[in-house]
Amino acid sequence: MGAKISLEKITKAFIETGSVLEEISLYVKEGEFVSIIGPSGSGKSTIFQCIGGLLLPDNGEMFLGERKINGGTGNIAYMPQQPSLLPWRTVLDNVLLGQELFQKPDKQEAQDWLKKINLSDYENAFPHQLSGGMNQRVAFIRALLSPQSVLLLDEPFSALDEFTRFDMQKWLLSVWEEKRKSVLFITHNIEEAIFLSDRIYLLSPRPAKIVQEISIPFKRPRTDLLLLENEFLQLKRDIYSALKAGGLHESV
């Protein structure tokens, strides 16, 4: 089907909490940016843990290209909500970590990227010397330079304040335009999802099912002006009502 990564009817239940994922099917094409919106505790992170190989789905199959990856690790690059940089490593060494797990890291490439995002001066600084937003940029570059071609981002901006958050969204897009990996992005924020994505999946509350798939028609590169366009606001309203109809408006 030409997808970079695809999930086919993934089902997962925990002994303690019962069914969490019910027949989740989704895909991300090569170089595509896809978001998942769903209420708190619906099972979004659980989907990621299945793809990452930390959890084995009870049913269903996952593919990277043609290869089945159920239970396998190291197939995706990852960026969590917390920067999760190693505090004893410098910024540069942290960026290299993702590569280091699989191959000899390319220091020059990492330095070039730090320069591109104006963090050259901080190459040899430690994470505690940087702001939260800066650390999150480092964490994204670490994921982007990891050898895997698929990126999983789990609410990467939700711990940041509103202002930094919007800056980060624009920044993320600009960087991603330069190195287009396939991205699967989890968020609570409708606006963020529309602004960033090519497609959006809406999840129901737990047990999570996919209730709707929405294509976002806007051309790239996108600018902040987009947020004021009628079509953008209309999409926002549509998604909002779809979520509300599913009983999830409390999450937005």
Partner: protein, 241 residues
């Protein structure tokens, strides 16, 4: 500062109350005696320090290796943990004569005593450091496909370095004391020997010299490790600038 005040007070009290020197000599008397009998105990310092430092290095290394073994092989943990606690519950005073019976009066039984005293704080501190890795770091590493070995070398080991060094600091303060105690068992040279001889001759001033030497070198060793710590740990306010 507080130390200076303490010495001044001590000096005053011994003079005013006319306490006989064999009971409590004045600091000035101790100091004069230290300079006078310097050649007498100088070789003792060397012997004790050699013992203390060898013991500290070996003890810390063994302590670290034990921690690593217990951490990487959890099945060993249940078997060996009680043994570890036990090793600390047997009083050294009881163990020491036994060690002499088994190994004689040489360097070895003394070394074993210091190792026994030193390894424990290092083991406990390292184990703590290995297992106290923030959950989000572990999660990132697992999601990114790190192997168990990579998790250990890239995360758990560096995470354990600060507590490990704290453990070595504690061990360092014990090591000089441990060396002196082990010398009480019988030795040709050493501060412990100097101390026993002085005390049986009621040379209280010399006993105090021995005490000051112990305190002094414990502090030197401790500061040395603080310096190493500053060099190695630059990533947080605690260790770095």
């Amino acid at each position: 500062m507080v130390l200076l005040l303490f010495f001044l007070l001590w000096e005053r009290v011994t003079h005013v109350k006319e306490i006989p020197p064999w009971l409590l000599p004045a600091p000035s008397v101790i100091f004069k005696e230290a300079i006078a009998s310097y050649p007498l105990f100088f070789p003792d310092i060397g012997a004790t320090l050699k013992l203390a430092i060898t013991g500290l290095l070996l003890g810390s290394t063994i302590g670290f290796l034990i921690a690593m073994m217990l951490h990487l092989m959890p099945s060993m943990r249940n078997a060996f943990y009680p043994l570890l606690i036990l090793s600390q519950n047997v009083p050294i005073i009881v163990l020491a004569p036994l060690l002499v019976i088994w190994f004689g009066f040489g360097f070895l039984p003394k070394l074993i005593i210091i190792i026994l005293v030193c390894f424990f704080p290092v083991t406990i501190a390292s184990l703590d450091g290995f297992s106290n890795v923030p959950g989000e770091l572990k999660h990132y590493m697992r999601m990114s496909g790190a192997t168990a070995m990579q998790m250990f070398t890239k995360v758990e080991l560096p995470n354990a370095l600060p507590p490990l060094l704290s453990g070595v600091k504690i061990a360092a303060t014990y090591s000089v004391m441990g060396a002196v105690i082990s010398e009480w068992l019988g030795a040709e040279k050493g501060i412990g020997v100097f101390m026993t001889l002085s005390s049986s001759a009621f040379r209280t001033d010399r006993v105090f010299i021995a005490i000051f030497i112990i305190v002094f070198f414990s502090m030197i060793l401790y500061s040395l490790i603080v310096v190493i710590e500053k060099k190695l740990i630059k990533w947080n306010a605690k260790g770095g600038e």
